[in-house]
Amino acid sequence: MVVGVLALQGAFIEHQKMLEKLGVETFQIRNRSQLDKPMDGIVLPGGESTTMFRILRDQLMVEPLKKMIHGGLPTFGTCAGLLLLAKQVDNYKSDYLQTMDIEAKKNAYGRQLGSFKAIGEFNGQDNTPFVFIRAPYIVEAKEGVEVLAIVNGKIVAARQNNQFVTAFHPELTDDLTVHKYFVDMLG
């Protein structure tokens, strides 16, 4: 099993470490040609969505990436990755990848002083740690989207077929629950 981790900016190494703990091989995707390497899944990590999208656009990676996701490649977006995949962003004029039928809200909990940790239920599993860093949340999950976690009344994890997103950062914890869920999607 091999997973490509988008490594344009942000906390991509943390995802690689988690996946490697689960016996999954990973590699970094920094440019257009690395998108052509064979992979069983892809991770869009946390970081700044504006930064990542500008580089994706400049390096002509938007269309090939969209094609791969529409083609059924298992895709896991955390935080900024969630924003990249959302069809709509409520408080931001998004022209990102827009492949997933969710409406997200950017910096939904405010600035850094609004960042927080919580423990809750993910896909029926109790005691999953959630780390929210200037995080978004999902305002609305459209038809065909399965809600996997809710914190303080807000949707913070969801899946639509091959696309799986979390508003929080499982890669910053020692808990492998969420990454295991993604590895199970790899088939």
């Binding site: 970081g47 935080c79 002083l113 960042s115 910053l172």
Partner: protein, 290 residues
Amino acid sequence: MNKRYELNKELAQMLKGGVIMDVTNAEQAKIAEEAGACAVMALERIPADIRAAGGVSRMSDPKLIKEIQEAVTIPVMAKVRIGHFVEAQILEALEIDYIDESEVLSPADDTYHIDKTKFKAPFVCGAKNLGEALRRIEEGASMIRTKGEPGTGDVIQAVIHMRKIQSEMRRMTSLSEDELYNEAKNLQVSYDLLKYVKENGKLPVVNFAAGGVATPADAALMMQLGAEGVFVGSGIFKSGDPAKRANAIVKAVTNFDDPKVLAELSEDLGEAMVGINENEIDLLMSNRGQ
């Protein structure tokens, strides 16, 4: 370790592989964001102008900081004088995303740095060697950057500081436990922090490069020397074509180990900031706050 400090270290992790740019108004902040900056540093004058103007240099006007916060969705940082904890209280009240306790401004205290553990807002501090870095972390900094020599457009000091920190860390990994006690004494740092460095070969927080970065090649050089991201101060808005240069530096950090891409990025950027070299300046800012 308290949750707030962990969250603050984790925000710095999200900035990794990115470029943090100095901006002096909302318009520049938007240019920086559009070019791909992962955060902006709001200040009234960029370091090159602070250097030229002389006099006492202080925290920026809150009005300016608020305008910049309104203009962009990426994190906004701002600087306070070394030891000036009231300026830091004010920035925290503005809900700033990161406070830079910075040698670029005139120090307010020649002995004591801010006790950063008293704050909820995160702090980044400059360091030119491992001892300084660990002392700042002990005081509560959740991110470190090299000091470099700000406002010069000359990368030599940032290189010296980054090399020094990296080589000192490498040396720590080879020390025995008993030698480590003595080294903690020499460096005036706690044994526990030094033990972390020995065991992990790195700082317990994210470490960026800063000071004198002016070109995509400078940024990539700092990344190859072990920086986890780059601050660019005067280098962008003192150059001929700020938007283009800013964007090229962003992509140079992503592609730091790909010389072919770096060659393309370095092409036709217009004039770089003229710069002054460290022998031509009277004031070495990096000596402020040991």
